[in-house]
Amino acid sequence: MTLTRTVRPPPDVSDVQRNAALLKTGALQDAILSSANFSSIATDEKGVIQLFNVGAERMLGYQASDVIDKITPADISDPDEVIARAAALSLELDTPITPGFDALAFKASRGIEDIYELTYIRKDGSRFPAIVSVTALRDADSRVIGYLLIGTDNTARKEAEEALLKAGALQSAIFNSANFSSIATDEKGVIQLFNVGAERMLGYTAAEVLDKITPADISDPDEVVARAAALSLELGTTITPGFDALAFKASRGIEDIYELTYIRKDGSRFPAIVSVTALRDEAAAIIGYLLIGTDNSARKSAEEKLRWTEESFRLMVESVSDYAIVMLDPEGCVASWNTGAERIKGFHADEILKRHFSRFYKKDDVAAGKPQRDLEAAAASGRYEDEGWRVRKDGSTFWANVVFTAIRDQAGHLRGFAKLTRDLTERNKFETTLTDAKRAAEKANLAKSDFLSSMSHELRSPLNAILGFAQLMESDLPAPTGAQTESITQILNAGWYLLDLINEILDLAMIESGKLSMSLEPVSLVEVIVECQAMIEPLAQRRGITLEFPRFVEPPMVTADRTRLKQVLINLLSNAIKYNMVGGSVTVGCTSTGLLDSVRISVTDTGAGLPPEKISQLFEPFNRLGQETNAEEGTGIGLVVSKRLVEMMDGVIGVESTVGKGTTFWVELLSTAPMVLGPAIEPATLAQIPVAVGAPQRTLLYVEDNPANLKLVERLIARRSDLRLLSAIDGNRGVELARKCQPDVILMDINLPGISGLEALRILRNDNSTAHIPVVALSANAIPRDIQKGIDAGFFRYLTKPIKVNEFMETLNTALELETSKRSGAAG
């Protein structure tokens, strides 16, 4: 602030003189007096205001007429400040100065230059800080005739100072920090300030750079040139490479932060992030620049590393050609595309990026909403795997295995999906071919089985007529002649043989198609052998072959299907009889082998024996031994069927032979623990049972669903003239029949269709009309626990199949006696 300090005093004290004096102060004072930016207040020697210019009016809110000749400047000043000033001046000048105008003008009155800060109070009561300069106005004799107080509004400067004070702490912290390089330059860019951070980072001391170089001199020159070129282009004006390139934007008031490579004193380089700010004076004119820089090396190197990792990962993913690796955004649009995707699906990356992935699906899948469902499934569980047809660019389809993986950020928000696709078309084709081949083979095998099965049935019908009429003729009356009987026997033999053949073919077909069911259970070998003996003896007798069966000390039990085991043994026995020498013998053996706890049943003949090459063909279908000589009938299938059956019973079949001596066929089956079922069974006596003449006829009801069992009982009962047989095929019919015809004894199977034998028994026991009838259980179930259960349930006796004739007959007799005694007891 420049004010004229030497004011020549006016010649006298009159107003005219004062005005004249004022006028003499010159053009500058004039300017000041009439300026609206300065308050100019002139007073008389007492301080009463005589002049109050427009600036004063503007600043203070008073009209000149409000104040002239009325108040002193002290009246519009902060009274406390006036008091404080008076006290301070009294102290300073060692003379008492009264608070009031004196306090404002005393120094000036003593000729001392006086500029001070003061708070003026406006007419409205508001205040503002002012800088006030006071000058004494003097007449020609240098007597004080008044005072001139020129004031400026100091509000803006005050505010700026306060702001600066506030900002100061931060700025000085930044400035003194070793972590930031703070470089201040003048407006030309010459470094004026170089803080410790700059020294540390750049290796220069402040003294080496101050007033010597610009920041451009310690920056990568190529980058500076490039930046100048880029800025020239961007801002449409020519910017010279040099400091301008670094500060131009800041000079235009544009915030500017950029990356730049600084060069250290030792020539080494480091990446820096530089923020540039223009420094301006009060008039906003640029007086310099402040460049604050941070060392970006660490971040740069981390970025580099990350970029490298990302790049190598990207390259890896891109180069995989066996798998399509595709990123999808959360909506399912393709975000990345690798070589494998291109190879498998046929799209180039630029054709498919940003397109929805549903185009890889078949139309009907898209229509059914499958693409969206797949994404939802992946989003729901994190991973979703699918296998199915997908579509290539050219419309062709391929069999794909697709794995979707949902990708979420740390906050759990879905960011997209990774989709891995494999083309399994080839594998699928191979598998399909394999499956088709297998299916075709199975179908062919099934067709063969079906054919054989239906052929078997077809053949049975005409055979039924042949055998049936031959049987009629055989037993016709009058009886056929001897020659006729011989012919009929030939027809019947051939017919029954043909039936065997058909049965064996059917068996083989059933075995091969897996339709033959086996029920493996503990089977008493003694019982089976006894039954076989009964069945085969007539044949042996006809052929004059001696049969030898073993005597059992301890009855062996084996795991087998009873019916099928019998079939196997009959086959071996009939072969041994057929292919034997005249007057030969067949020996049946039964030994337990240490191996695997099994039982070996052997059938040894005294036939011609078999050379090794024949033995190898034995179990092949349709390789009937002895066919060459045609000496004996045989299907050639029997052994094949036997082998399969034994294998299905987890057993082994084998043969040993010596040419000229004989052959032994053997079967090994797993042995099971012997059951506690009473003494070994004697061969059944099939002789006619003697019945007392004139005994009353009794009725036996047999409830049984199996025709074979029914037939056997029919045969047994046919031998007893005192018994008549009734039958029912299930429990309900059995109960109904029992109520209606009141049989004397009931024979009940346990495993019946509908209600079981046990249930039927319960009903019979609870019905007064049937409660008295003894019921004998006849069951294939030989498990002791079940037998006990049957006895507990109220069966008179519990017999197990196969039927032991003597036991069966004795049981019937006992039951009938009991019934008789009951009846006579009731009658008497």
């Binding site: 019908s461 039924n464 049936g468 009429f469 009725t699 008549r724 047989l725 039958s727 109904e736």
Partner: protein, 126 residues
């Protein structure tokens, strides 16, 4: 004297069974080659036993039994199924047959079975 009906599409089988049963002493034995007529024939003649073949081209034995089902309650009749297909035993019994014999059969077996069934049927009706 029990009334017996033989149902088979093959004349030889019909003849064979007729001969066999007549020789066994059954006099009221009639037969048909036309399974469609069975229900009507039974309604008219009220047989005691029907010998029924299963494999017949126009109408098989199962269908015949189904057709008889409605009138069997009123006119009870025992049914003996004769079939070359032994695998059909269970099915035949489940569908209404009272007994089953495989073809080819031994003639005494047929006679025995017929006798047993007629006895049982008579006892039921008593």
């Amino acid at each position: 004297m029990p009334r017996i009906l033989i149902v088979d599409d093959q004349l030889t089988n019909v003849r064979l069974l007729e001969h066999t049963l007549r020789r066994a002493g059954y006099e009221e034995v009639s037969s048909t080659l036309e399974p469609r007529n069975v229900a009507a024939l039974h309604a008219e003649h009220r047989y005691d036993l029907i010998l029924l073949d299963l494999q017949m081209p126009e109408m098989n034995g199962f269908e015949v039994m189904a057709g008889l089902q409605a009138i069997r309650a009123e006119n009870p009749v025992a049914i003996l199924v004769l079939s070359a297909d032994l695998t059909q035993v269970k099915e035949a019994l489940a569908q209404g047959a009272d007994s089953f014999l495989g073809k080819p059969f031994r003639l005494p077996d047929v006679v025995d079975r017929v006798e047993l069934m007629l006895k049982t049927a008579a006892a039921t009706r008593r």
